[in-house]
């Protein structure tokens, strides 16, 4: 961000960055949009364990000569705790143009149900 970086060509450290994320709810699912520019589906892992969804990308170290640097390509990590009323086993993930879309349906038990009332 400043001129000091311009005159100091260094090997980029293997840092990870938290990608920007939108999360919105609809009646039957939660959708998560994550900006992952430069990331391919082969480089991305999405894991779910102990109620926590974790995204990881396998960026590569680069020793390019940066005159100005505002980001490190391809190094992202982010975790997200999922609510119990979501069905983590039915997560769908789609990565297109560096934008990841995760759709997590609500579990059947948490969806509103119409209860039949029986008359005696």
């Amino acid at each position: 961000m400043n001129t000091a970086t311009a005159t100091t060509p260094t090997t980029t450290p293997l840092e990870t960055f938290s990608p920007a994320m939108d999360l919105y709810e609809t009646a039957d699912a939660v959708t998560v949009l994550v900006d992952l520019p430069g990331v391919t589906s082969e480089q991305l892992t999405v894991e779910f364990e102990g109620g926590i969804l974790t995204l990881n990308t396998a960026g590569v170290a680069d020793d390019r000569h940066y005159l100005h640097q505002e980001f490190h390509p391809g190094h992202f990590q982010r975790s997200l705790r999922l609510s119990d009323n979501l069905d983590a086993s039915a997560i769908s993930a789609n990565l297109e143009d560096g934008l990841l879309t995760l759709t997590i349906p609500r579990s059947a038990a948490s969806l509103p149900r119409k209860i039949e009332i029986q008359s005696s």
Partner: protein, 142 residues
Amino acid sequence: MLPTLSRNSHASFPNSLDSLFRSFFGPWSDGLATGNRVPPINLIEEDGQYVLEAELPGYALADVQLEVHGDRVMLSGSREDVTPESVTFRRKERQAQSFERHLQLPTEVAAEQVSACLRNGLLRVVLPVAAAAQPRQITVNG
């Protein structure tokens, strides 16, 4: 070796506000200075040319415009809002759907040789240094 950005390169700009921002951001005065959220960029020196990278997730090539004049680059774009209407946002971190950045390169570049590709939401622009700005060897006669 290409010239690197220097602290003095902004000294010729008369506008005092511009100069203030330039002293913070070097010669990169653009949306950052106005508080707008803009895609981050990198400038790399590679094989005697400049490489400009920008993070443009969710953008298609048709959504991005690039203009090069001398040592000035203007990058702008707008992406489709993929969010359906009437949803409840719990987080909203992704930046605005349109942006514009103005950059000044350390030297002039050959605008007619500039090439750009957008892959997986990462823009890569190759900017060959203009012939007039290339370092030259001067023979000294003794």
